[in-house]
Amino acid sequence: MKGRRAAALLVVAGWSGTVGGSACGGPPAPGGSLTVVSWGGSYERAVTEAYIRPFAEAHEVAVGIESYNGGLAQVRSQVEVGRVHWDVVDLEAFDALRGCEEGLLEPIPPDFLPPGPDGTPASEDFAEGAISECGVGNVFYSTIYAYNDRLIQGEKPATIEDFFDLERFPGRRGMRRSPLVNLEFALMADGVARDEVYAVLDTPEGRDRAFRKLGTIREQVVWWEAGAQPPQMLADGEVVMSTAYNGRIFNAQALESQPFVIVWDGQLLDFGQKAIVAGTPNLENALEFVRFATSAESTARVSGYIAYGPVRASGLPLVSTHVETGVDMLPHLPTAPENERLSLRMDTAWWTDHLDEMNERFSAWLARSP
């Protein structure tokens, strides 16, 4: 009975929901309200099941869910105008860093976060860099490239070099319309060792080199913007291989039985963070929610719905099977030991400094293309 009531409190507002997601109509929830903002699609479904619904039930809080496409623009306008109606937001790590420095986000004291189930304090349990002043990491996700097995006969691609090899693997490729990740992939494919990628990228010659390498396949690239596009393009045969978020490819494999194969070599690992919008009227609930959502159990439960890994060391052993299909999830996570071995961690600090410049250059480079 109680579960049913709490579920009814869970209001799902559409993404244009400027009205705010608080439960309109009906009696107010005893625990107050909270608006949580996430990425939409399969990721939002996963976090709703994994910890938003359990939190709403346990604390009797009316939780409204909104989705957005990333970036700080909306947070910034809410804070500047002084009408904050988003409370907790899923952010990319470098946006959490920027937002914190600009005073758009509330600082979250690290000792406030729950220790692991074995008592390890949060500061040691979280992956390095996953906790910043205002952001608390919750999932590792990764940009990989995947190919459609049905479209590539004979030899199959296995390394990041193969993605850039048009001779051995002809056909169009999908890539995100952004310099992020692509520059790293280009350098790794050009023979730069993983641990030297950002050192090379930090030099003008290195950046020229990355753009030159991208230029070798530009004619064959289809650019995507939303994470849902690459699986679609692969399924349609529009491209033979594409960079993509690993969770989206896993969903296509597991739920739609698509013949996609992930190449983990050179995967670019990054984490999503939770942050609290500065000046929220629901600060107490927001902090409690962040605490709940970043516990080892909650982060591990996310992996039961989508192939993103917990950022807490104590979360990894708790990962079990995919809720819908019963597939063992660990081998599909970017942080599974045999996958992590092949990974590069995104350098958030480097991108914070260079994103504007690289975006400009990338746009200019695209605009000059035929």
Binding site: L72, A73, R98, E101, V222, E225, D353, N359, S363, A364
Partner: protein
Amino acid sequence: MRRRLRKPALALPLVAFVLVSFIAPILLMLARGVHQPVVRDALPETLAILDAWDGLGVPEEAAFAAAAEELRAADEARLAARIGGRVNRVRSGLRTVIVAGARTGADGAGAGSARERLLAADPAWGDPATWRALRTAGERFTLRNYLNALDLDRGADGAVVRQPEERRVYVPLLLRTLGVSAAVTVLCLLLGYPVAHVIARAPARRARWLLLAVLVPFWTSLLVRTTAWIVLLQQRGVINDLLVWLGLVDDAARLTLVYNMTGTLIAMTHVLLPFMVLPIYSVMQGIPPRFMRAAESLGATPAQAFRRVYWPLTLPGVGAGALLVFILAIGYYITPALVGGSGGQLFSNMIAFHMETSLNWGLAAALGGILLAVVGALYVLYERTVGGENLRLG
């Protein structure tokens, strides 16, 4: 007297509404393009010293002391990163330098001179270019956004120079946007004119159905229509499948119809077609069919009658439709972003990008100002050549 005032007074609510919700935001936004007080307000003393500096060597000790002190205060007010972001736009890579400087100022009181502390925080503080960037970012009123929006910049000596080639993006993009808009306008005219004629000449009942056929896509969500075009046009899409099945195209050489300029032109033409058909239709409806019959009875061939009688009479509709389509096309960005591929970025995509992602609202305002100026110039040009009285919007 009172009576004369009463009529305009009825329009006052609308005028006030337009002023508050339309004109004022546009002016405020445009002001952001030239007015950037954040850095100047936070670092007044540092910038006063830098204003007197020749910009060549490393500035004097007083500049370091003022910068260390004011950055520390800015850090406490959580402004340091914003200042860093502004300076970073002038010279990439300086964001962390500024933030590091602000943090050292905070704990390093007494540990060496301000110069030593800042240099220890980051050696880039010893580079005159860092200070020049700080000075540039500190201009309260600046034309830098407009210069950047035209692919120009100021050199070390203050002279206006072109950006290095790999950063020239906005002017080529503006030209491409104008080209695409012109092409879409012509395509819409070629497709829409006959359609409007058929509807205008059809019996009332059939005309209603035909109009509905034009309007239904108009009422459908833009995203749905654009995505539908992707399904139709992609390499394994409906059209290619049909062509292969008919044997017109080889299976290995399917046509590339989407994620390139072709896709942008097809989808944008379709989306904007109603804006061409409707004004032309409304004008054509007002042309009595007897005019054409009269022309023919006086000996004109159908082609002559069209050219000398019908076409000139429809010009106000054509002008209105073309102007509408062209101006809407210039501002388009969702459709080109989805179906355009690498060549698909248009000018408005960059405005959206700077508004939402890079948060460089100053540059976005400057780009918007340029777009507004282009549209205004086009309208004036249209007035001069075709004449404003020749415009019928419905």
